[in-house]
């Protein structure tokens, strides 16, 4: 593994995250989140996890962005006056964040923690599908169940209520 390349990608990740949090418009924030996911996808590929990477790319930077963007467009945009007030407000609150992040980062990099782990015996390299279907069957059932719960949730929350 090439360490410098890793560091560059990680820096890009942090910058994208900072932009996500600091940017003024919610829409850009959602796009920033998709960017973070995309960069994370590269990292997952580098860690020998191609299937998880594909999932991350399609689901997180795809589906979740769609969900966020449609939520943002469904909620009312603010008036101009509110936006200006909001901007000033935000500037005073979010101003500190980059400094905190940089300071913590440097402080932590001064620490030099090295693990000395007796790595447990590595399994025979199996395919991830096999692991998922045979060894982690319970999680699959769990996935189905939570998807069902999500379906009922959406059915309840988005049903136009016959309100009293």
């Amino acid at each position: 593994m090439n360490m410098t390349l890793d560091i560059v990608i990680l820096l890009a990740l942090i910058l994208a995250a900072l932009w996500t949090v600091m940017t003024r418009s919610l829409l850009r924030s959602a796009i920033g989140l998709a960017l973070v996911s995309a960069i994370l996808t590269i990292l997952l590929f580098r860690f020998d996890s191609p299937l998880a990477a594909v999932f991350e790319l399609s689901v997180c930077s795809g589906l979740i962005s769609v969900v966020f963007i449609s939520t943002i467009s469904l909620t009312e945009p603010m008036t101009m006056k509110e936006v200006i007030k909001h901007m000033k407000d935000r500037l005073t609150r979010f101003w500190y964040l980059p400094f905190i992040v940089v300071i913590v980062g440097t402080a932590l990099s001064l620490l030099d923690i090295r693990l000395n782990i007796k790595v447990p015996p590595a399994e025979t390299q199996k395919d991830v599908r096999e692991v998922l279907w045979n060894m982690r069957q319970l999680d699959l059932i769990g996935q189905v169940t939570i998807l069902l719960a999500g379906v009922f949730g959406v059915a309840i929350l988005f049903k136009e209520g016959r309100k009293k």
Partner: protein, 475 residues
């Protein structure tokens, strides 16, 4: 065989949602029968069902599940509380579609809760906790009332933070264990070359669980969620959901993964004692019936954690027994609150008064449950608290024992004050035409009252056969 506890609710759920007309009417009966059957299976371990041969199914579902004494008690409580929620949901929801959605969510929650109790793998544990959480979110905001939605959002954010803490801890342990089953992780932590990894992991996992259980520094979401949820859902949340996700998981994880140790016990006892005091004092100050019950729940959960943190077999047995008792009497109190809310339209105690004559059953049952909460002999709450206090005293934690005794005096104070304001005294002006609650609420009340009385009278039997064996989870 155990996988049926998870699979069957799911199959019934899918079956009920097939688009046939008659099924909507069958929904209640199937869901209720399933819960009753679960209770039956736990009570009669020798019944025919356990001897049936499901070889072909066994072949299909190769789950790694296990059950022990504590798990059996939890399964029984889950069946009971979900049954009562289903029963109340039938009478409270008017619309057939609404009923079906309500029962479906409860069935998902049932599968999730059973999963939490049975799994032997920490990541699957996380998956089932999430399933239960998501169905709880939906149940709380079922009628999309404003306060309920706010409470759901608060709960959702805090619970997500809790799961993130738990996942971080799991990843740390994977570093040294390379697997996620309880036994692998236990071995890895015991042989870990780095103490700080284990301490970090334990700390993060436990604080996640404290959030999930709503213990004191993290109890903000719990009160709002309990008090703004629909009545049938409050019973479910207070009766079993937070208990299984927080307290039971705490016990299981501490005993099976981390291994009980003195520092963990001290942290647990501290958190427990603080929860007892703060919960009881806040309950004293409440004017809303359901909010008072929510704070009282926090205080009683504190007792369970305190008893468990004591670490002796007796303490753990007391904690398990108190967990069972608390499930029963707090469910009963929330059923009473539902009766009050439905019949009078308010749960503010200053507007209620003199209801003992109008609603005698509700009054008597809530008195019994309240006194059991406060620990008055011969009700079961007394015995479980007594065991916890004896265990604390016996292991030399005198200060905590004194706190536990004093806090039960505060408990008595707020219970008596609640009884006086709601059921005795002069009837308030608008309470003239109040009648006893409908059968949908009265039948659960009677059932739970019966269990309170029986478990109080036969406590040596329960202690001997269920609580003490369950207390052996700490070795």
């Amino acid at each position: 065989m155990l996988y049926l506890f998870i699979i069957v609710p799911l199959f019934i759920l899918m079956f009920l949602n097939l688009p046939f007309r008659g099924l909507k009417r069958a929904a209640f009966w199937l869901a209720a029968a399933l819960c009753l059957f679960q209770m039956f299976l736990v009570l009669f371990p020798d019944s025919f069902f356990w001897k049936l041969d499901f070889a072909w199914l066994d072949h299909l579902f190769k789950f790694d599940l296990a059950i022990d004494g504590l798990g059996e008690i939890m399964l029984f409580c889950i069946g009971l509380v979900v049954f009562i929620s289903v029963f109340m949901g039938r009478y409270i929801n008017a619309d057939a579609d609404e009923k079906l959605n309500f029962f479906s969510l409860l069935l998902i929650a049932l599968a999730g809760l059973n999963g939490i109790v049975l799994v032997k793998d920490v990541f699957s544990l996380y998956v089932f906790i999430e399933i239960t959480s998501v169905s709880s979110f939906m149940l709380i905001s079922f009628y999309k009332r404003r306060e309920a939605l706010e409470a759901t959002f608060k709960y959702l954010i805090l619970s997500a933070i809790a799961t993130i803490l738990m996942l971080a801890s799991i990843s740390l342990i994977i570093l040294i264990s390379g697997g996620t089953s309880f036994s692998l992780m236990h071995e890895a932590i015991r042989n870990s070359p780095h103490d700080f990894l284990g301490i970090f992991a334990i700390g993060m996992f436990l604080s996640g669980l404290f959030i999930k259980a709503g213990l004191v520094p993290f109890h903000g979401w719990l009160v709002d969620a309990y008090s703004s949820a629909p009545s049938a859902v409050s019973v479910f949340l207070a009766g079993i959901a937070t208990k299984a996700m927080g307290i039971y998981t705490l016990m299981r994880v501490t005993s099976a993964i981390f291994g009980f140790s003195i520092p963990i016990g001290n942290v647990l006892m501290l958190i427990g004692a603080v929860s007892i005091i703060i919960g009881a004092l806040d309950a004293l100050a409440q004017n809303d019936f359901k909010r008072m019950l929510a704070y009282s729940s926090i205080s009683q959960m504190g007792y369970i954690v305190l008893g468990f943190g004591c670490g002796t077999a007796l303490g753990v047995a007391g904690a398990v027994f108190h967990l069972f008792n608390h499930t029963i009497f707090k469910s009963l109190l929330f059923v009473n609150s539902a009766a009050l809310k439905i019949q009078t339209g308010t749960s503010r105690m200053d507007k209620l008064g003199g209801l003992a004559r109008k609603m005698p059953l509700t009054a008597v049952s809530s008195l019994l449950a309240g006194l059991s909460t406060a620990g008055i002999p011969p009700l079961p709450g007394f015995w479980s608290k007594l065991i916890i206090i004896i265990a604390l005293w016996g292991s030399g934690h005198y200060a905590y024992a004194v706190i536990a005794v004093l806090a039960s005096l505060i408990t008595l104070a707020y219970i008596i004050s609640m009884q006086r304001r709601v059921f005795f005294g002069e009837p308030a002006g608008e309470m003239e035409n109040v009648k006893e609650a409908s059968p949908g609420v009265i039948l659960p009340t009677l059932l739970l009252t019966l269990i309170v009385i029986v478990s109080g009278l036969f406590f040596p039997f329960i202690l001997e056969n269920f609580a003490l064996p369950a207390g052996m989870i700490i070795k």
